[in-house]
Amino acid sequence: MSKDLNIWLDDLLGDIENIQFKRKSSRRVRVDVGSEALPALLELLQGRASYVHLSAISCVDWIEDEEFELVYHVWSYETRSLVSAHTRIPREPGVYLSIYDLYQPAAFFERDIHEMFGVFFEGSPDMEKFILTEWDGPPPMRKEFDSEAFVNQHFEWEQYHPQWLKDLEEEGGGVTTRPEDIRL
């Protein structure tokens, strides 16, 4: 039964134009689709092909291509297989459609992506801050956010080898076994 469904799905996806489709294993399918066709594809997968579970939406920042890649992972309990639908949207203005009306859990993922990458999802019920409620910097998972510079600007570091220890060592005291002498 599930095998038939898989074959049927392969046929179906192979027939649609403007879609690149790659079967990675018996239980994983990768689909690359244009951003205008993605909601329709998901609707098809959910309504006709039993992919009723949205596992996750993930986002990748391709800063050199000036694009965000959104990946929608949908799972079917019938065929026990996962379809990952990849789509790319321009980085500016970074706005896309919500799929909340298809999959309600999407609200959760979209809110998270909005917070971490600044992608706005039109039609999503809540685009408020989610985890980073006390954060007012730029969305931190964007590639242009320099975490290291931020850290160096905001935090002091503990000194491992302060001046007083160096002075002690000059007098022959201090740490007897240095970290670099320890070979593991």
């Binding site: 290291e148 935090f155 491992y160 007083w164």
Partner: protein
């Protein structure tokens, strides 16, 4: 050569100047109190990071911390030790400071894990605070990623012997150097950072006011301080939006 005063040493107990003890039994009584204190420690384990995983084995029958008199406690107001088990995000750090300030003195802080010492493997992360002792006085650090229960227990024993010998006086530093700690907190949380506990009044109460308790940062605090209001109670976050 640095001056001897620049070398950070453990806080030495300051003898109450000019006050001679006449009762020969007072000393004995002090010793007894210290011994009892070191033998009944209630720890509030505010589990912040992954290092918390090592606490259940340390507390339960395998390593059994209770034989040393260390027990978990559920509220900060009844706890002696604040255990910080791993990385603290900036959001968590605010809660830690609130919790710490509500604990009764004498109170002790133990920083478990490398993350509390210098950021650990999250040194690059925008979300975690790096050096815990900038924001709170820490009594014992237990390094390791993550330290084994043996290490945790040995750190606890270290603290116990410090309490017994009267060296564990770090909680006084918070009152004595409040301006320094508050300054670091303000740097991270913004100028209008305030906690419900009035540390300056407490410092006065304990007689721990020094010239480092008040300063520019506490002046800033006074400028921004809002009187406390009772928290609003509502059942769900949505309810308010609708009305």
């Amino acid at each position: 050569m640095s001056k001897l005063d620049n070398i950070p040493v453990r806080h030495q107990p300051t003898e109450a100047a000019g006050r001679k003890r006449t009762n020969p039994l007072a000393h004995v009584f002090d010793e007894l109190v210290k011994f009892c204190q070191s033998r009944s420690m209630f720890m509030l384990h505010y589990c912040t990071g992954c290092g918390a995983i090592e606490l259940p084995p340390a507390m339960t029958s395998r390593f059994d911390m209770e034989r040393l008199g260390i027990q978990p406690m559920v509220t900060p107001r009844q706890a002696d030790i604040l255990l910080i088990t791993g990385y603290v995000s900036i959001k968590t750090l605010k809660r830690i400071i609130l919790t710490y300030e509500q604990m009764q003195s004498p109170k002790y802080v133990i920083g478990i894990c490398s993350c509390t010492v210098n950021g650990g493997m999250y040194w690059q992360s925008y979300a975690t605070a790096k050096v815990l002792k900038d924001y709170l006085p820490v009594d014992v650090y237990i390094a390791g990623c993550m330290p084994r229960p043996e290490a945790v227990i040995s750190g606890m024993r270290e603290l116990m012997s410090d309490i017994k010998s009267g060296r564990a006086q770090n909680w006084k530093r918070y009152y004595e150097n409040y301006d320094h700690y508050l300054g670091n907190q303000q740097k991270l949380f913004g100028e209008d950072w305030q906690t419900p506990t009035d540390i300056i009044a407490e410092a006065r109460h304990y007689g721990l006011m020094t010239d480092r308790t008040l300063g520019e940062h506490t002046a800033l605090l006074e400028k921004h301080q809002r009187p406390l209001e009772a928290l609003e109670m509502r059942l769900s976050a949505r309810e308010k939006q609708k009305t």
